[in-house]
Symmetry: C2
Subunit: 200 residues, 2 copies
């Protein structure tokens, strides 16, 4: 996923125009988030989003290019927020907690993230390039570092890949919808495998 | 993947006709296998297969419906052969070997299978129904049973899922082609995670 530049990094334009653009961007993203949370991504059209934000549809397309473009921005912003939380946030996700506790908290937090962003992540999974994009690499490194700090030995890359597979959107979605499992039991399962790999 | 009926289960027809149909089926499958092994599935056309088998293209389509149909039959037959080997074959894959040894042998055998059938398995992965079809369920159960017999405790389903992820065609393909890893190092990685889960 490419970096999304903030409104203040746009090319030269009058201050007022930049302010409007930034405000419209936030209005549109908030409206999209709210509608998706209410109805699921599939049931939300660009018309709905423009109307809910009180912004013209032309502005919506100028700002995000396409529906897919808007969805990528939403996912990208939330991926950044979760990264911020597990790299720099408070315990138990962040660096003040002991490594095994952080690892277990990361699994449960990511499962919640996958449930919330299921539709967008499933779309992203259809394309190997976006499936294995920057967030995937950051999560792999994070898990690998925590495994090592928690005292795991052996092939830590393979262990991180195996653990990450339990947080994959297709896998989680199938467990929730077809196997009737809950987010809590999937969290317990991640917990069990992670503890096993750390030898506790 | 649906069960493929042998030629002798075809509807009523003259014995000679049945014999010809069975012979043509084998000729066509052998020719397809040989050409795919030589050139990769993408470079093999239905014309090539009919010509190599010395059989008319009409017969080829009558027998398998479509190129996709033929590919499914090839994969299905090879899936059955590998299942036969790990369920009932000789050690180290089969039941005469101790469970951990069988588990380690299974990982390496499946990695070879994935490399050989990469194109067909990657195609199958694009469709969640064929991704999680019968062979996937059989492998999951096999790994789960071996983990238990080898003394693993905890959530064995999650452990089996995590191990299976390391044998997934997309994952293996990416490790081989983009990460420059070899089948041997992937086998060592599987080995390391499997041993870890069994506590050895």
């Amino acid at each position: 996923m490419s970096a999304i530049h903030g409104a203040n990094e746009l090319p030269v334009s009058a201050p007022q125009e930049r302010g409007d653009a930034a405000r419209n961007r936030l209005l549109l993203l908030d409206a999209a988030r709210m509608l998706i949370a209410e109805r699921g991504a599939d049931a939300v059209s660009m018309d709905d989003i423009a109307a809910a934000a009180g912004v013209g549809k032309g502005t919506l397309f100028r700002r995000f290019g396409s529906r897919a473009g808007l969805m990528m921005v939403l996912l990208d912003e939330d991926e950044r927020a979760i990264q911020q939380a597990f790299l720099f946030g408070p315990a138990p996700l962040g660096p003040e907690a002991p490594p095994l506790q952080r690892l277990l908290a990361f699994g449960r937090e990511r499962l919640r993230f996958v449930q919330t962003h299921r539709d967008l992540l499933l779309d992203a999974n259809r394309d190997p390039d976006s499936r294995y994009s920057a967030p995937f690499a950051v999560m792999h490194t994070h898990i690998r570092v925590l495994l090592q700090a928690a005292g795991s030995t052996g092939d830590l890359d393979a262990q991180a890949d195996a653990l990450l597979a339990l947080l994959d959107a297709d896998y989680v979605s199938r467990q929730l919808l077809e196997r009737g499992r809950s987010l809590d039991t999937l969290g317990d399962a991640w917990d069990s495998v992670a503890r096993k790999l750390c030898g506790t």
